[in-house]
């Protein structure tokens, strides 16, 4: 217990001292994951909307595929991407392996099914009358879709936050396709894995603290926004 307390205090001191290496790792994590979520969100919500509001052959199959993709381990995504991006792979010429771009692609692949599945659940349970009302008031299909998305924004925001939580905390994909290169592709989770394997718990705990603080802030943010929403039981 004392070891844990000491390590935590030292970790806090390390963070507050502005250690360049630690803050670079944090910066890589945030840059990669924010870019990934930013790229994945709009197309994922569009796919979810089509799945919820349009009938087409194979729709149920596509929904099942996305739900199944939720269970894909991050390391499997990393391994598949490694095979695709390595020199002998079909996309080897792009020279993306061990770059932040590769990490972003990996995280997009991880976030996308989660965003689609959760957004689809929100949109599926949305009120059909919202769509019909928008249309009958003269909105185009696109504007009506935006209106419906606005109506279920709290559910969609929860999907985005959950997906962001998943990708910033994943280690498998980033480790395999990023290569854990210091000042380049080393992020919070790969650094924790490395430091723990070396027995250097202080840095690991410091980075873990950052992740937990982030999770806390995200949840405060979500709660604050939902606080403005209608209360069901007063």
């Amino acid at each position: 217990m004392n070891d844990l307390t000491d390590a935590s205090i030292q970790a806090l001191q390390l963070l507050l001292s502005g250690d360049a290496q630690v803050w670079k790792i944090i910066s890589v994590s945030f840059t990669v994951s924010l870019k990934a979520i930013f790229i994945a969100t709009v197309p994922a919500i569009a796919v979810a909307f089509v799945l919820a509001y349009y009938a087409f052959p194979g729709r149920r199959f596509v929904i099942t595929l996305f739900n199944t993709a939720l269970a894909i381990p991050a390391v499997v995504v990393g391994l598949t991407m490694y095979l695709l991006l390595s020199r002998s792979g079909p996309f080897g010429d792009l020279h993306l392996l061990f770059t932040q771009e590769a990490m972003i692609i990996g995280q997009i692949i991880l976030a996308f099914p989660m965003l689609v599945a959760m957004s689809h659940a929100s949109l599926q349970s949305s009120d059909q009358r919202a769509w019909e009302t928008a249309i009958t008031l003269g909105a185009s299909a696109f504007v009506a879709a935006v209106t419906v998305i606005r109506e279920v924004r709290f559910g969609l925001m929860a999907a985005v936050i959950a997906a962001f939580g998943r990708i910033i905390a994943e280690v498998g994909s980033s480790m395999v396709v990023g290569g854990n290169i210091l000042n380049h592709t080393r992020n919070i989770t790969t650094a924790i894995a490395l430091e723990t394997s070396k027995g250097s718990f202080v840095e690991g705990i410091a980075l873990g603290m950052v992740l937990l603080t982030l999770a806390l802030l995200l949840n405060f943010f979500l709660t604050a926004i939902q606080g403005k929403a209608e209360v069901i039981h007063q």
Partner: protein
């Protein structure tokens, strides 16, 4: 009932609608005249709401022939994508329990006007004017979720009216309304008819006699069993 026969402004013929194996509408002919007030009655499940939704271009029927007067004066079997656009341009449909978007009464009433690409100033002016005209100006900044059922219904009617559709379809507009709210809604509907807007509404309401209808249609198991002008 008034005996004035007005020229049909919209006519739907041989409307058929099926859900699975169940026939909801079976070769129904439905026409409304410009500025007319039409009452549609029938039991639950007789196909009233379905007919209104098809007329508003919100539901795709298996079969329909539509003619618009004086828009083109021709009867035609338009392909559904074109037909629904034409219908949506002319007709506004209001649900039995109207859906109000998140936001204020102003946001809701302004919604349709924003789609018409008006200036912010013009929208504001028209919304204020419309709410004043229907004695709802005190609600302008109220959150829609704080409104009573009757207020919601009246705000929704004004929201439909302000977009200036040729036809407004009201699905059970007086359900869940108290006597006072009904009175206000009747006045609102009468006002709209005077402005030459066609209104078709469904109702089980016995007090509906307070409105003077130009046409009465009774639906039974997906067929029109009674029609009077």
């Amino acid at each position: 009932m008034t005996s004035v026969i007005k020229k049909a402004s919209l006519s739907l013929k041989r409307v058929c609608f099926k859900r699975g194996t169940r026939t909801i509408l079976d070769n129904v002919d439905f026409s409304v005249s410009q500025g007319a007030l039409v009452l549609m009655t029938g039991q639950n499940g007789s196909g009233k709401s379905t007919l209104l939704k098809i007329t508003a271009g919100l539901l795709k029927p298996q079969q329909v022939q539509v003619s618009f007067v004086p828009h083109d004066g021709q009867q035609g079997s338009y392909p559904w994508p074109r037909l629904k656009k034409l219908l949506r341009r002319k007709v506004c449909y209001l649900h039995q329990h109207p859906y109000l978007f998140h936001g204020s009464v102003y946001d809701n009433v302004a919604y349709g006007l924003k789609r018409q690409k008006m200036s912010k100033q013009e929208i504001e002016q028209r919304v204020v004017q419309a709410l004043q005209e229907y004695s709802l100006e005190s609600l302008i900044h109220r959150d829609c979720h704080e409104l009573s059922g009757g207020e919601k219904q009246r705000v929704a009617i004004v929201r439909s009216w302000i977009t200036r559709p040729e036809i407004i379809l009201l699905d059970e507009p007086f359900s869940n309304m108290d006597k006072e709210s009904r009175k206000k809604s009747y006045a609102l509907i009468k006002q709209m008819c005077q402005q030459n807007i066609t209104i078709a509404l469904t109702s089980h309401d016995p007090l509906i006699g307070e409105l003077s209808f130009d046409q009465h249609i009774h639906l039974y198991q997906g067929k029109i069993t009674h029609k009077s002008v």
